[in-house]
Amino acid sequence: MSIKNIAALVSVGRHPVSGEARHCRNDSLAMTLGLALTSHLNATETNTVSFKVLHAGNANNTALKDYLALGASHIDMIDVAAESLIIDALAANLTNTDLILTGSRAENGLDSGMLPYQLAEKLGFSLVANALAIQQTTDGLTGGLEVLQFLPKGKRRSVTVQLPAVIVVHPLAPVELRHAYARQVTGTINQQASPLTHATPQEKTLKWQTETILRKPIKLKARENKSGHARMLSATVSENKGGAVVIEGNSVEKAQVILGYLREHRLINF
């Protein structure tokens, strides 16, 4: 079986500092890998391979245009009423697809990273996680894909997967993203209503509670200005940690000692 239809799933991300809605970087990597694979196959194969970019979620999100700028000429947008319907909506849209590419996890929302697994289970597809690179298997007969997988500590593993499959791209995939404004202008987003908006038999409404994270106090630590030899000694030989206990004198003198210490370690600069 040869590849005919490839799809990349994209979500709306969130900048970790500013909180602005944006493309999800990991999904963009998956999409760019898919674009490269499609153009490679179209250049070498006889049959044409189609590539679509799919998003299920809130139709009003302007961050989707980032994916147009990053290379998608067209995005199919499924308007989904509730987050729990996303899997069903996607599955209904992806039954004829041979290869589905996704990022590892979204940047906001429920952010569980479970979507590719639930989707693969629902569609009965194989799944490869932590993909760094994808290429066609060298013997064209088997019709599978060779995936380079990320393993910790710089290790890599090459696995072969039979289609249809879901491939989950690792955030460290070596892909260069190119944002071009002109593509954002020329690209289109096609919105389609989900067939499942009212049929919700198995909807599980999850009760999530959001609260702001409490920043833990950080202990100020004086930087050690010791030589490498001294640090080696202090690691190997147990020694007095330094410091002094000031009991003598009035409060001003004691404060002077503290100020002196803080100045010495450059924790204050006056």
Binding site: V17, E20, L70, H179, A180, Y181, A182, V185, T186
Partner: protein, 664 residues
Amino acid sequence: MGLNYFISALFWLATATLFVGLYKRTQLWRTGQAAEFSWLNLLAIPKRYFVDLHHVVAREPYIARTHVATAGGAVAALALVAVNYGLMLYSAPLNWAILGATALMLIGVFFMWLRRRNAPARLSRGAWSRLPYTLAAFALGLIIISLPVPVISGSVAVLALLLLLAGSAELALGIGLGGPMKHAIAGLLHLAFHPRQTRFNGQLSTALKPLLLDEIALDGITIENEQYGVNKPSDFKWNQLLGFDACVQCGKCEAACPAFAAGQPLNPKKLIQDLVVGLSNDEKSGTTDANFTGSPYPGIALGEHSGSMHSPIVPLLIPHETIWSCTTCRACVQECPMLIEHVDAIVDMRRNLTLTQGSAPGKAPQTLENLRQTATVGGYDRKARYHWSVDLDVKTIQKNQAVDILLVAGEGAFDMRYQRSLRALVRLLKAANLDFAIMGALERDTGDTARRLGDEATFQMLAKQNIETFNGLTFKRIVTADPHVMHSLKNEYPSFGGHYQVFHHSTLLAELVSSGQLKLGKSAETRKLTYHDPCYLGRYNGETEAPRALLKSIGFEINEMERSGLRGRCCGGGGGAPLTDIPGKQRIPDIRIQDARSIGAELVAVACPQCTSMLEGVVGNRPEVLDIAELLAAALVADLEVEGLELKGLELKGLEIKASVAHD
């Protein structure tokens, strides 16, 4: 007399050839895009030539005099020939005049030839080395025929005609075949139809022209985005193409270019000549750059690049790295005697690369993404921009609160080094009792870096957001310590409807010092000082005096480096060059610090966060780099009590705290 008729025939033949050539060249220029222009500007050519252009040429008096003699003599001789031989008067007194003018020309040509014998490396050779000989041939021919001798022997007459023929060919064929004399006609027309007309009104014209993104979006949906900046030579405005043809290959831009000096693959002269190579309709073979006779782009061989009017410039004609090496310091524009706008051409090409391919190299894409998503260059939290001022008791501007001065810190505010300069500035403003406020979390980046990197879309987005913010605030003036912020706000925002009074801190402080509102003592500093002019303050905004006046007012003697003032050497920090980071043989700031070292300076005064970080990034033994604000703050008179540090809650009464001004 037979010889006279020959000369008349030759004159009209040459004139006809010139006009045919000019017509051919005009057709090439007309391939470019439409630009606003007025035919009336042709009348302005003499003033622009004798004032604006000569002002630049006169920086090198030897060549200025040589050119006056050569070109002046030639133009006078040609005009007289047109009258005497063109109109077939053949009058003896006119012949005497021709003789005089030609003799002047010959003297000029002699000195031109003399210099060519020891030509500096920046000059092109090839056809340009031929020029003294052909011009001398022309002058000698004219001298022979205008000699007051009743009869010339046949062989001398033939010799004179041959000499004249050779010289006339150079003059008449230049414009059509792209020879050196092309510069005379293209140069004069360029003066009339220059893309920056305000340059000739005694104003600085340094703002980039906005790209009309909304209009492109309307017409450009189906076309392959060709109107986003410049992709092919034919995407330039016709008057830009004309400007490229004006180049005399004198290489003054090359000598001034910091990227070229650092061995990065950019040479402004070669860039303009490459674009001239692109002025060709020869689609199939294309024209290569093999005939270029000047210094190539460092590290890139000649003959491997070719182009034509309708084929993409990058990377076929000009390598990718060349476009991204430019620091947009405008040193080339400052030096160009033909008033060519190199930086505009580079940004036009960058716009196309960034907007249609997103192919800016290095850290540039990350920076542009940061600007889009956080409105800061470094991807910082906007709310953290003014953390350095938390203990200085500074007002943050509020919606309904009028202030005199709005202090815009710029991206430098996130840099711990530059925060010291900003803190010094705040202390000075407070010492002068000014009513000022900082912008706080309302401040977004001005988009300067995005614009220089060609990302016009991001720049315009930020510009519009900033203008909206400014419109909601009440202030009289904007003061900033960052010349890049100043340039955007003052020169480029007016195109988008933002008109503000913007001052660099040095200008404001100089005013305060001269009016006596800010009282400064003498600096205790004894080290030898030099001042480094930021490009965006000097060349972009014409401010070179205020910083010097300030330094003098606190007792410094300023030792000027090799290049200073409007001709100052770049620190390497502008135009997104530190982000694209194109490798060269050495780093630009190293060259600048070497300038400071070679005059024995121990202190470099700066006035820009980019310059500060670039010059401080130089490793090894180097002069200390201090902002003008820091030097001034150290000389504040009423300042031995501790500023801004009231030690609330510490209850340290009676404790003597020695304020160290230098470390604040």
